[in-house]
């Protein structure tokens, strides 16, 4: 029985220790206050879990949550969120994914799933509308993502599958949860939490639907937003034609593409070899979209005639193309595509993995990692070694196990934690905070550690969307980032894709949300929910023992040696003061009791 407000109204609660399955009503007050997906999943999590929990202990919980727009006709509304405390960082680890799994879960009759406890043997959850059962996953354990997905499709017919590969089974710290084979709830190690519970997969088939509160108004808002997306050069044509990898050249040209673990600055004369333009010429089969998406930025790719590299899959996205490209100093596009295939096939975060290989390359070249530890030379630019080490990490073999710890623990082990290009133990993505000041502030303040999609400052600083900010200056960045972070939290929580925000903004997101749930709230009141979500995440992180907001010393002290931003470091302290003021937090970056009360952040 669905509700006429974008929600089904039912949560599945699965206790893996007991093997019990319960259906309970959705907490509608929290759904109102925290929107859905990222916000609502985090609220449920904060309500139920001690912030000091060991992420890999049976007492931890793992929450899959959709949004009120997930599975509706809203723009690019195929998203869902996986929420838990992240084993890589020790703070909140909400990870967002597209594809078709989220909508299918709602069509089966469930807004979300809360997993508790730990099964005493490998299991998977099978959902076929009202029928929900835990089944033995013994034959799936040890299989990769693609094999697991295909086995469950063969057994259960037309199901949508979310699962882990073997790294997740081993609780590798940045194992991803993969759905529809190549879509990832990728960052922070949600796959490790799933593996710690002996939960291999969820296979879901749903035949129901989602009903919205005001269908005519909803369709009016969708038509308006879809027209804007179609007419915008990025969402109408650019992303579909070139995918996200198109960013390589423009980011490099502003001097913001971190090269060789950031050691050698952020301008690369070989960047074009790894670009979206070159990927189209060499490996693209076709573009592909997620559920209900007109943008269709996905890349279906293949490698042919390259011997052991040959394969078929998806990607890379820009971030993975950088981590395996410029970060490792590798300009062989086939090897980059291959390394990304391995990450997808086994469920690993390629941003962290590629960055960790890059860190190891720097440590090796400076003599901090002896060659006997690795088993072979590991110099920047060695594409074969990079692919080999990625496969070793997937297999949990030799030095690959050390790579599986992430760059912070790797660099600490070899005596140079300062060479991990991470924030709060999660690797920063593909933009240098010395050349692009605001993205450095975003990395430092992101509620899940080094991350670009919590407040994508590249949009105003490099692309000029929706306003043009000079990437090399600090003025105005704090207030702009605060707005971006709040809007992103809102967008993620509706179930829409963040990429829509290149073409539409708050009025269109709020408009679709309002008509779906039957709200008369203003745009500003709806955006305030994004701020509430941000403050909730921050509060949880503080109680979990989060590290202070800062950046690796390299970004703060080592001036860029070349390129358009030559001589620049990140001016973090200046921007942090502005940012905390914009958030109305203390000068030390702490939400005040008054602020939390104003936003009604309680749990």
């Amino acid at each position: 029985m669905t509700q006429a407000n974008g929600w089904i109204g039912t949560i599945l609660r699965i206790n893996l220790t007991e093997g019990s399955i319960k259906k309970e009503p959705l907490n509608m007050q929290d759904a109102h206050d925290y929107v859905g997906a990222r916000g609502l999943g985090t609220k449920y999590y904060c309500n139920e879990v001690d912030p000091k929990i060991d992420p890999l202990s049976p007492d931890n919980k793992l929450i899959f949550m959709t949004g009120p727009l997930t599975g509706t006709a809203a723009c690019s509304s195929g998203r869902y969120e996986v929420v838990s405390k992240a084993p890589l960082t020790g703070i909140i680890g909400a990870a967002n994914s597209g594809g078709h799994f989220g909508p299918e879960l709602k069509y089966a009759g469930y807004d979300g799933i809360i997993f508790e406890g730990k099964a005493d043997h490998p299991v998977y959850l099978h959902i076929d509308d009202d029928k929900v059962e835990l089944l033995d996953a013994g034959e799936l354990w040890g299989q990769g993502v693609h094999e697991t997905t295909e086995a469950l499709e063969a057994k259960h017919g037309k199901v949508r599958v979310s699962c882990i590969g073997t790294p997740g089974e081993r609780c590798m710290l940045y194992a991803a949860i993969m759905n529809d084979k190549n879509r990832a709830a990728g960052r922070g190690g949600m796959g490790a939490v799933m593996g710690s519970k002996n939960l291999k997969a969820i296979a879901v088939r749903g035949t129901g639907g989602v009903t919205v509160a005001r269908p005519e108004g909803f369709m009016r808002e969708i038509t308006k937003a879809r027209t804007m997306l179609k007419e915008h050069p990025v969402t109408g044509n650019g992303l579909g034609t070139f995918g996200t990898e198109i960013l390589v050249n423009i980011v490099n040209e502003v001097g913001g593409l971190p090269l060789r673990n950031g050691r050698d600055g952020s301008y690369w004369d070989k960047a074009d070899d790894t670009s979206g333009e070159h990927l189209n010429e060499t490996h693209l089969v076709k573009n592909q979209g997620c559920f209900g998406c007109s943008i269709a930025c996905g890349r279906v790719t293949k490698i042919e005639g390259k011997g052991d590299l040959d394969g078929f899959g998806e990607g890379p996205e820009y971030e993975a193309g950088w981590s395996y490209g410029a970060a490792c100093g590798v300009n062989d596009i086939s090897s980059i595509v291959k390394a990304n295939f391995i990450c997808n096939e086994q469920g690993m975060d390629p941003i962290t993995l590629g960055s960790t290989v890059a860190c190891a390359m720097e440590l090796y070249e400076m003599g901090a990692i002896p060659e006997e530890d690795i088993g072979f030379p590991l110099r920047f630019g060695d594409a074969a070694a990079m692919v080999k080490l990625t496969q070793m990490c997937a297999d949990g073999e030799g030095f690959g196990k050390i790579i599986g710890l992430g760059s912070y623990r790797l660099a600490e082990k070899y005596g140079h934690p300062e060479l991990s290009m991470s924030v709060k133990k999660q690797e920063m993505p593909a933009y240098d905070g010395r050349a692009i000041q605001g993205i450095g502030l975003e990395y430092a303040t992101s509620n899940r550690g080094g991350c670009h999609v919590r407040g994508y400052m590249i949009s105003p600083e490099v692309l000029g969307i929706p306003v043009k900010l000079d990437p090399q200056v600090t003025e105005g960045k704090g207030a702009m980032l605060k707005t971006f972070q709040d809007l992103t939290a809102l967008c993620d929580s509706t179930g829409m894709c963040l990429f829509t925000t290149f073409g539409i903004g708050l009025p269109e997101i709020a408009g679709q949300y309002r008509e779906a749930v039957g709200s008369d709230e203003t745009d500003e009141e709806i955006l305030l929910k994004g701020e509430r979500i941000w403050n909730l995440e921050k509060r949880f992180n503080m109680e979990a023992g989060v590290e202070k907001d800062t950046l690796p010393p390299r970004l703060l002290r080592e001036a860029l040696p070349s390129g358009p931003a030559k001589g620049k470091v990140n001016e973090l302290q200046t921007m942090l003061a502005d940012y905390y003021e914009a958030r109305n937090w203390t000068a030390d970056g702490i939400p005040t009791p008054e602020k939390l009360a104003e936003l009604n952040v309680t749990y």
């Binding site: 990025v234 650019g238 996200t244 050249n249 996205e317 000029g464 290149f502």
Partner: protein, 90 residues
């Protein structure tokens, strides 16, 4: 002076980059590009041909012209220019 083309502009120019004599400023460069490749006309200049189009990014030595002197930004033979349609990713 080196001019680099990105994304679909490469297809129009049928090259990744070219050497051109440096005109006095960015506006004159865009006019020269339109004269050499008429497909650029209507894309990189606004309707009045007084400024760049809304959906164009132009960098001079890696700096957006909005943060320099707009289309009046002066050019010399030692400068290099990047011109791209608006793209995004992440």
């Amino acid at each position: 002076m080196l001019v680099k083309f990105l994304a679909t502009y490469r297809q129009i120019a049928n090259c990744k980059s070219c050497d051109m004599p440096a005109p006095s400023n960015v506006l004159e460069l865009m006019e020269a590009l339109c004269a050499r490749w008429p497909e650029f006309d209507g894309l990189i200049l606004n309707d009045e041909r007084t400024d760049k189009g809304d959906d164009v990014i132009i960098l001079v030595n890696g700096r957006h012209i909005e943060h320099l002197n707009g289309v009046a930004t002066p050019l010399t033979e030692q400068d290099y220019v990047v011109i791209t349609p608006l793209v995004a990713g992440g």
